[in-house]
């Protein structure tokens, strides 16, 4: 499944530390800890500088976790405020400001600055302005596909200065935009691959989403184990990989739209929030939904007394 804004953070980590992803720090947070982080994100913009502030403020937490939390919170903020920006005369005023400022400073990232100033996602600001620009050119409403393709590939935009501004907005937004969508998709996929590799490593036989779809399943978790295992004493039939942080709102949505549906069809299962989750949410274990922030180490498989060759690792693993 797609992560909710994970990749950018990872990229940042690469930028800043010059090495690949290290998942360090604590990822299972208490609700209070989460609240504290959320409180800090309120004033931040989706910029590198802001992310640095957050990271410095909470050094004991994994960066990916912090950035994922920020991403979720920022999306909530934008959802809350977007309608304020998306009004014809407000759009018109943004457009006029852009035109005058771009004229004055053709090379400056005026659109990005404007977005940060009015606290709107830069990528969304770019979309609004581009939309207005195209309307002014043809007189009619531009089609969504044209709009999307230009956002994806700014060189298609007839106006060079606008193309530059749109590009700056897109690459400087860690929460919205075609680049982020692409990264999210990739990171989600990456974790699914990681999960499959881990399962193969453990010699656990499974069906993945694609298998399940061809068999006509109406709901498909990432993984269905052909032979169930027990994790920390709980039976697991399916595994869902989430390359994001599990906060109250997203977990509630996932429960209703996915996890319970899986339980309803395949029995108890495991959700891995690779970027951590609010610990209190892991309260449905006895009801068949187990949360983890990594691939579990305590896996018990069926071993038979008549079968003398049980694998030692599956025999008695310590609980973490």
């Amino acid at each position: 499944m797609c992560g909710r804004g994970g990749r950018i953070e990872e990229e940042w980590q690469k930028d800043m530390e010059g090495k690949t992803l290290i998942l360090s720090g604590r990822m299972r947070l208490s609700r209070a800890e989460h609240k504290e982080i959320v409180r800090w994100t309120e004033k931040l913009r989706p910029t590198r500088q802001c992310m640095k502030i957050l990271k410095d403020r909470f050094p004991s937490h994994s960066q990916s976790t912090l950035l994922s939390i920020f991403s979720l919170e920022y999306q909530k903020r934008i959802k809350r405020t977007f309608s304020r920006h998306h009004v014809p005369d407000v759009i018109e005023s943004y457009y006029q400001r852009y035109l005058s400022e771009a004229k004055a400073q053709p090379t400056a990232p005026v659109l990005l600055e404007l977005a940060n100033e009015v606290d709107l996602s830069p990528a969304l600001m770019a979309r609004i302005i581009l939309d207005r620009f195209l309307q002014g050119q043809d007189g009619g409403m531009p089609s969504k596909s044209v709009l999307n393709s230009m956002l994806k590939e700014p060189s298609l935009i007839p106006d060079q200065i606008l193309a530059n501004n749109v590009y700056q907005c897109t690459i400087n937004d860690c929460c919205y935009g075609p680049l982020v969508d692409c990264i999210k998709h990739a990171i989600g996929h990456e974790h699914e691959v990681l999960l499959r590799e881990k399962l193969k490593e453990k010699n656990l036989s499974f069906l993945d989403e694609n298998h399940l779809r061809t068999m006509g399943y109406d709901k498909t978790p990432d993984i269905i184990l052909e032979v169930p295992v027990a994790v920390e004493g709980h039976i697991v039939h399916w595994i869902e990989s989430k390359a994001s942080f599990g906060d109250d709102q997203s977990h509630r949505t996932y429960l209703n739209e996915q996890f319970w549906s899986y339980w309803n069809r395949f029995g108890p299962g495991l959700v891995i929030y690779w970027y951590g989750f609010i610990g209190e949410l892991d309260c449905q274990r006895d009801r068949g939904i187990l949360l983890k922030d990594c691939f579990p180490t305590d896996i018990v498989t069926l071993c038979h007394a008549t079968q003398q060759d049980r694998s030692p690792e599956s025999q008695n693993k310590d609980k973490e």
Partner: protein
């Protein structure tokens, strides 16, 4: 009636004569004693006796406000009346007769199967050879009161004859003088004996009011200490610390028993009634006896009681000695029945000080029986995890639906169904929560969507599968520890009797809910499914469910039963035969089938009679119209044919229990319809022929099962609770026979308890996890895989046993003999070592056979992991099977 008892007690009439008469199978319904000019009818005498015993002992079981918690526990006629007036007596066979609902008296009069005088021909419609056992209505004079029962046991005959005879009061030291007492209302039982019917009714109403108030008070302020019965060694501390001296009770002593001769006579009469199946419900009687055993002397301090007790001098004190004496004697007499109770109860009885002091011999026998008792529910290793119904592409993917839309809608409906179920789990116990308010609209919305998509059959299948998953097991259907079952299982240790007492009170307490189905009939999760159907009220869904339930039931009813050897009856007494391996499996399979059939039948009955349920009994005219109307349409299930067929094929042990569940759901009119009337009549005949003590073709436990289900049906009353708890234990005993290792219905894939007994807790939880994993494995696989695995395991296991019998055992016997001869003194040659070595050899042999068997299977299953797991489970099952045969048959030598 009373005259006969009087003459018996005064030894004017020989007890043997009366006992023989009671035992005579029906051909002598009347007993004439010429010297006294008496003619007595059995169906009058038995209820009279039962009633007499209850009245005589009522004081010990009921005393006033100081021991309030005990009050509801009495099987007092007054309390029963309340129950019957609130509940629809029509559910029982006798429902049609009388105007005030069921009366146990009527159960034993032939009129009970007929709706009234004009229906009296109904019995003659039954093609039974021994009709003379059941004289048609009218051939015996039934007192007018029988048609107007005011209580479970009709006491009227007593009052009619009382002036002429004064029965000795064996439980009290002085004769009754209540009628003259100004406080006659306090003890309406005695009052009613002399007073007229109208008076007694009035009194009963008074009593009812009082009982209700008392109960309300009890709920508000529980007094656990006052619930403790007098079991001296165990409660000394408690009585000393918690109970005020006034409340202290007398400890019964054998030396203080009076009228022991008369009591002995009563014991003999009463026991004969129980043994001869003349009582409507043996468990109710057993319960009554237990009550007597735990009875307490009334105190003499309450103002209200003062004048009353003054007249009795020390009657109360006297009473307890006699009650306990009587109870212990009856228990001795009914030992065969008692010995079939579960271990817990047996232990409680064996540890009961009163039993010990009144009959050390009985105590010893109980202790022995306890060791042998197999009536236990081994539930520890049952998987308690609640599963969903797995999605099976074969039946659930797009190709099974008429359109994309239907497929999509069903996807949502499955999720809503579970959402509703989870919400119910979370909230239904909270005060003020109402199923319909909370979930009704969501369910109805779902139904209307279903109708537009035509998905009813899919949903019906999901619904039934989930019902079976959650409610089929003997244990799974209780949601938490507050069910009678849990209590019964938890009745351990020193507090046992007190808890028994409390339990008993809860059991006997009438439930005030008036609904189409009283809550206790749908325990645990069953309640959810019932409420769901009621809230949905979707006729399409109900029709699909009916179709499916009928089909499944008839299929289950056809399941082949390997009848146990004819000698089971004698063998059963020995309690040590372990049966053949196949026979054990057969018992488990049978138990599983029986439990499932009963569950399905209950729901089929519920759905089928739902449209006809009314909260009030309809008037006579409405009844007649309804009968005329409904007799034209075909009933959902041809119960007559099913029962007839089952009797012909001697399969009643399977059919009757589920039919009883089905019939217990009948509406008021139902029993009056010819098809159900005939069936109920046939069942009644069947019931009366089942005399427990007699060793016939049917084994004791089978009979016990039948007697208890039928007894329940004929008398759906508060004792229902006793059944639902006791019943499962019975079932467990019944199915496991004398195998100690019964593990419930899914034992087939659980490790044997023998293996688990001595293992440490951590290891045990590991083993439980393994059991759960195996269950889980099959959960998402097609059912055919499980069947295959079980089949192969079965074949391989039994082949292994054959192989062992032929080779290993022979060899072993030879070796064993040699070893014995060689060194009797050598303690090393113990049987368990031998056993171990055989097991080791067996495993090798078994594995070889398995290698061959699995090659066949690999043709069918492509996935290597699934195949490997199936193979391993098969191996384990087969080995376990063979090992259990070994330990059962070899170690014993």
């Amino acid at each position: 009636m009373a005259a006969l008892l009087e003459s018996l007690l005064s030894q004017k009439v020989d007890i043997i004569k009366v006992v023989d008469w009671l035992k005579s199978a029906g051909d002598e319904e009347k007993l004439s004693i010429s010297e006294l000019g008496l003619t007595v009818h059995k169906e009058e005498f038995v209820p009279f006796l039962l009633n007499f015993l209850r009245e005589q002992s009522s004081q010990a079981l009921t005393h006033g406000p100081a021991t309030p918690a005990k009050t509801p526990s009495r099987p007092r006629p007054a309390a029963q009346t309340q129950v019957f007036s609130e509940r629809r007596g029509c559910k029982s066979a006798s429902g049609g007769s009388g105007t005030r609902g069921a009366s146990r008296v009527q159960l034993f009069s032939p009129s009970s199967v007929s709706p009234g005088p004009e229906g009296s021909h109904c019995l003659s419609q039954l093609n039974f050879n021994n009709l003379e056992e059941f004289p048609p209505v009218g051939s015996s004079p039934i007192s007018p009161a029988a048609s107007k029962p005011t209580r479970r046991i009709n006491p009227t005959p007593v009052s009619a004859e009382r002036p002429h005879s004064k029965p000795k009061t064996c439980f009290t030291s002085t004769p009754f003088s209540k009628p003259s007492s100004p406080l006659s209302g306090v003890e309406p039982l005695e009052g009613s004996m002399t007073g007229g019917n109208s008076l007694s009714l009035q009194e009963e109403r008074e009593l009812l009011k009082r009982e209700k108030t008392k109960r309300a008070q009890q709920v508000g302020s529980p007094q656990p200490s006052s619930l403790e019965p007098c079991t001296p060694t165990k409660t000394v501390l408690k009585t000393g610390s918690k109970v005020t001296p006034e409340h202290q009770t007398t400890c019964p002593e054998p030396s203080k028993v009076t009228f022991s001769l008369e009591l002995d006579l009563l014991v003999e009469l009463y026991s004969t009634c129980i043994s001869e199946n003349l009582v409507p419900n043996i468990f109710l009687e057993l319960f009554f006896v237990m009550q007597l055993l735990t009875s307490r002397s009334p105190h003499t301090h309450d103002d209200e009681q003062e004048s009353l007790c003054a007249a009795h001098s020390h009657s109360g004190v006297q009473l307890v000695h006699n009650c306990v004496y009587f109870a212990v004697k009856v228990l001795e007499n009914q030992f065969q029945l008692v010995a079939h109770l579960d271990k817990c109860t047996l232990r409680l009885l064996a540890e009961n000080e009163r039993v010990a002091s009144f009959s050390p011999h009985l105590r010893d026998r109980l202790t022995q029986a306890q060791d042998k008792s197999t009536a236990k529910v081994t539930e520890l290793y049952l998987s308690t995890f609640i599963h969903s119904v797995p999605f099976q592409p074969d039946t659930d993917n797009r190709s099974n639906f008429s359109s994309d839309k239907a497929f999509h809608i069903f996807k949502k409906q499955r999720d809503i169904f579970y959402e509703v179920l989870r919400e119910w789990e979370d909230f239904h116990k909270e005060p003020g929560w109402s199923f319909d308010t909370a979930l009704g609209n969501r369910i109805r919305g779902m139904m209307s969507q279903m109708t537009s998509a035509g998905n009813h059959s899919h949903f019906a299948r999901l619904f039934l599968k989930q019902l079976i998953q959650m409610c089929k097991g003997p244990r799974v259907n209780s949601t938490s520890g507050d069910t009678p079952d849990a209590d019964l299982l938890g009745m351990l240790g020193a507090e046992g009797l007190g808890r028994l007492k409390r339990l008993e009170e809860r059991l006997i307490q009438p439930h005030g809910v008036v609904g189409p189905c009283p809550p206790p009939s749908f325990p645990g999760y069953q309640e959810f499914f019932r409420d769901f159907l009621q809230a949905a009220s979707c006729c399409q869904l109900n029709q699909h469910l009916q179709d499916s339930l009928c089909q499944q039931l008839l299929q289950l009813d056809e399941v082949s039963i390997l009848s146990p050897p004819a000698s089971i009856c004698e063998r059963e007494e020995e309690e040590e035969e372990d049966g053949d391996m196949e026979q054990q499996d057969e018992k488990q399979r049978f138990s599983s089938v029986l439990l499932l059939a009963r569950l399905l039948a209950k729901f089929l009955g519920f759905i089928s009679f739902l449209p006809y349920q009314t909260s009030e009994k309809p008037s006579r005219e409405i009844q007649d119209t309804a009968i005329a109307l409904r007799s034209k349409s075909v009933p959902v299930l041809d119960v007559c044919a099913v029962l007839r067929n089952s009797m012909r094929r001697r399969r009643t042990i399977l059919t009757v229990p589920w039919l009883v569940e089905f019939l217990s759901m009948l509406d008021f009119i139902g029993p009056l319809l010819l098809c159900y009337r005939t069936t109920l009549g046939t069942l009644l005949l069947l019931y009366r022929r089942l005399v427990l003590g007699r060793c016939e073709e049917m084994c004791y436990l089978n009979k016990l099962l039948m007697v208890s289900v039928l007894g329940w049906l004929f008398q759906i009353n508060p004792s229902f609770f006793i059944h639902s708890g006791e019943f499962r234990k019975l079932l467990a005993a019944f199915v496991s026979g004398s195998t100690a290792k019964s593990g419930g219905i899914i034992r087939k894939i659980t490790p044997t308890s023998a293996e688990l007994k001595d293992t440490p807790a951590a290891h045990r939880s590991q083993q439980k996890l393994q059991v759960d994993l195996e269950q889980a494995f099959f959960h998402n696989q097609p059912p055919s895989l499980r069947r295959t695995v079980e089949f192969v395991a079965e074949r391989v296991g039994s082949n292994a046993v054959k192989h062992m019998k032929a080779t290993l055992v022979n060899e072993l016997v030879g070796r064993g003999e040699k070893m014995l001869r060689d060194g009797l003194g050598s303690p090393n040659s113990n049987p368990s070592k031998l056993n171990d070595s055989i097991c080791a050899q067996l495993c090798d042999a078994g594995l070889e056979a398995l290698a061959r068997a699995t090659r066949y299977k690999s043709l069918f299953y492509k996935c290597p992991a699934v195949l490997a797991t199936s193979e391993n489970i098969t191996k384990r099952l087969a080995t376990e099977k063979a090992c259990s045969w070994l330990s059962a048959n070899i170690t014993g030598n």
